[in-house]
């Protein structure tokens, strides 16, 4: 039995190579030639899947690697002083985890799997060394960081002035866009996070999230059943997300 499990794991690890990975066009090796991709592949550590609720690393632990999400999803939780935990990010497949730990040499938040999740570990010192030789890799790393900064700015704008309706509309529009980029349906997806997680991330009480979800359903914007989301009117949702001012 143990042999079989180990064998299965070995074959899984063998299968998960950048060349054959469906996410390689979105991930760090995006711009690499095939032989360069193999060099990159060689520094990656494949890890056993994380179970739901298992943490990838804890806040404050030493920064060693960045991680590319292969499947599943994770949340970043940041605790500050005596305050309650704040959910500061969700990571979906092809997205990089841990870039925010580079300068302080520790991870600024704990990252926890929301479902069974596989990641590729990319030791940062080796990534750094390799990117000196592969400018395309370095550029892609810069792009990932720049995008993360842009997303953070957008989140700051959202938290600083948007109403609850606009916040939730923005959240759905962003998820839809992230699924679309990975080649999945932008209209129909499953939420791996609980409503409490969504509320915490958006700065809303869970009661408010539930309230707005039922309003969106009444307005024919989305249909929600448990964690299954069907976006019925993406244009209207995007318009609501980008609306300035209040009702």
């Amino acid at each position: 039995m143990a042999d079989t499990a180990a064998g299965r794991r070995r074959s899984l690890l063998n299968e998960t190579r950048c060349r054959t990975c469906s996410l390689s066009s979105l991930c760090l090796p995006l711009a690499l030639e095939l032989e360069d991709m193999d060099q990159f592949d060689a520094i990656i550590r494949r890890r056993a899947p994380l179970k739901k609720g298992e943490s990838l690393f804890r806040q404050g632990s030493p920064f060693t690697s960045v991680y590319a999400v292969r499947s599943g999803s994770l949340k970043q939780v940041t605790s500050e002083g005596s305050g309650a935990d704040q959910l500061t990010n969700f990571y979906l497949p092809s997205e990089l985890v841990g870039l925010d730990g580079i300068d302080e040499t520790t991870y600024p938040g704990s990252v926890i799997a929301l479902e069974t999740t596989t990641v590729c570990e990319i030791p940062f010192d080796r990534l750094d060394a390799l990117s000196e030789r592969l400018p395309e890799l370095r550029n892609q790393l810069y792009r990932s960081m720049s995008k993360e900064m842009r997303d953070d700015r957008r989140m700051m704008r959202l938290l600083s002035r948007k109403t609850a309706d606009q916040r939730l509309a923005t959240f759905f529009a962003s998820l839809s866009d992230r699924f679309r980029r990975r080649g999945y349906s932008p209209y129909s997806f499953r939420l791996s996070m609980s409503r409490a997680d969504i509320g915490n991330y958006l700065g809303l009480a869970v009661e408010t999230v539930s309230r707005i979800l039922s309003r969106f359903q009444q307005q024919g914007l989305v249909a929600v059943s448990g964690r299954e989301v069907n976006i019925l009117d993406l244009d209207a949702l995007v318009e609501l997300a980008e609306e300035e001012g209040c009702r």
């Binding site: 309706d165 700065g203 009480a205 309230r211 009702r247």
Partner: protein
């Protein structure tokens, strides 16, 4: 020899007046009384249960029953343009109870959803945070009243309401961000240990936070040993005028400019509405009559549990509707 007392104005009369109000069909203003507080305040004359840890579901059920009874004689096309949830302490409602209460109102009445609505709630800053405000905005509220009373720690301790400024300021900022059309900071005159200097300090702190509106009302009943409210009021008027506030009704101040225009416009709209009071001690004002509900929870509950309106007093009016007598805690927020 027995003298027959004049027949008291009762629930039947109120129902008759409600039906008669359809002839003009003015828009409606619904005022909900939620008479529950964690502790009763000596300076407050409103009838409240003073040891509440929340708003009991049984009370919300009775409010719902009252909505059904009040709505029955009314033309269903009449819209509720204004809503006011007053105290007690409405912020003792849990967020899901707030949603539920709005749903019940929306099921019984036609609630205005456009920008001309005036939906207000009184909040105790100690019982509310930014998440509460975001929830209220999502429910359609667009006006707030924060019950602060005084900012001097000595005075706050004497009235049993420790409420430091750091609790209040984030609420003002968030209300502004969310686009609440007005926020009133409510202060009281004639509290124990409230001197002219302390009042001046409170007013300058409040003016520095620059809320669109400030409400000043007198402690009622007057608190023994408190300074004379007339003197305090004269001083407050002067200080508020210097800080850029003008009174648009006695005790009601607004920042000069758009805030003052908004306050006056809201008062004009409110004077053109029929007012329905729901809950313990609530006051209704119709073209032909005014009525007040039972002022104790027991009497109110008994009437509604028997399927009757809780009208306890009232009078027919023979003259056209005017705004109600000037009283800060009965006015608009």
């Amino acid at each position: 020899m027995p003298v027959r007392a004049p027949r008291r104005f009762g629930a039947d009369d109120f129902e008759t007046a409600l039906a008669a109000s359809n002839a003009v069909g003015r828009p409606l203003s619904v005022r909900l009384a939620l008479p529950f507080c964690r502790q009763a305040c000596r300076h407050c004359a409103r009838p409240v249960a003073g040891d509440a840890t929340g708003i009991p579901e049984a009370y919300l059920t009775r409010l719902d029953r009252e909505m059904v009874l009040v709505r029955r004689p009314l033309d269903p096309a009449r819209r509720v343009q204004a809503l006011h949830w007053g105290g007690g302490t409405p912020s003792l409602l849990r967020l899901d109870q707030m949603s539920d209460l709005i749903d019940r109102l929306a099921a019984r009445f036609s609630l205005e959803s456009g920008p001309s609505r005036d939906f207000a709630i009184e909040l105790d800053p100690r019982e509310a945070d930014v998440l509460t405000l975001r929830h209220l905005e999502a429910l359609g509220f667009n006006r707030l009243r924060l019950t602060v009373l005084d900012l001097t720690p000595r005075v706050q301790a004497a009235v049993g309401r420790p409420c430091p400024r750091p609790l209040i300021e984030p609420l003002l900022d968030e209300a502004d961000r969310l686009g609440f059309r007005s926020l009133a900071v409510e202060l009281a005159l004639g509290l124990p240990h409230q001197s002219g200097e302390r009042l001046a300090d409170t007013l300058s702190q409040v003016a520095a936070m620059a809320p669109p509106r400030i409400l000043l009302h007198r402690a009622s009943p007057p608190v023994a040993g408190a300074p004379d409210a007339d003197d305090l009021e004269a001083r407050a008027e002067r200080l508020l005028a210097e800080a850029g506030y003008a009174a648009w009704r006695p005790g009601h101040y607004a920042r000069r400019g758009p805030a003052l225009d908004d306050a006056r416009a809201q008062a004009d709209r409110e004077a053109r509405r029929d007012r329905l009071g729901l809950g313990v001690g609530a006051h209704s004002r119709l073209p032909d009559a005014e009525a007040r509900n039972a002022t104790t929870l027991a009497d109110y509950a008994a009437a509604l549990d028997a399927g009757r309106l809780a009208t306890a007093s009232g009078q027919w009016r023979s003259r056209p509707v005017d705004p109600p007598p000037h009283r800060a805690d009965g006015g608009i927020t």
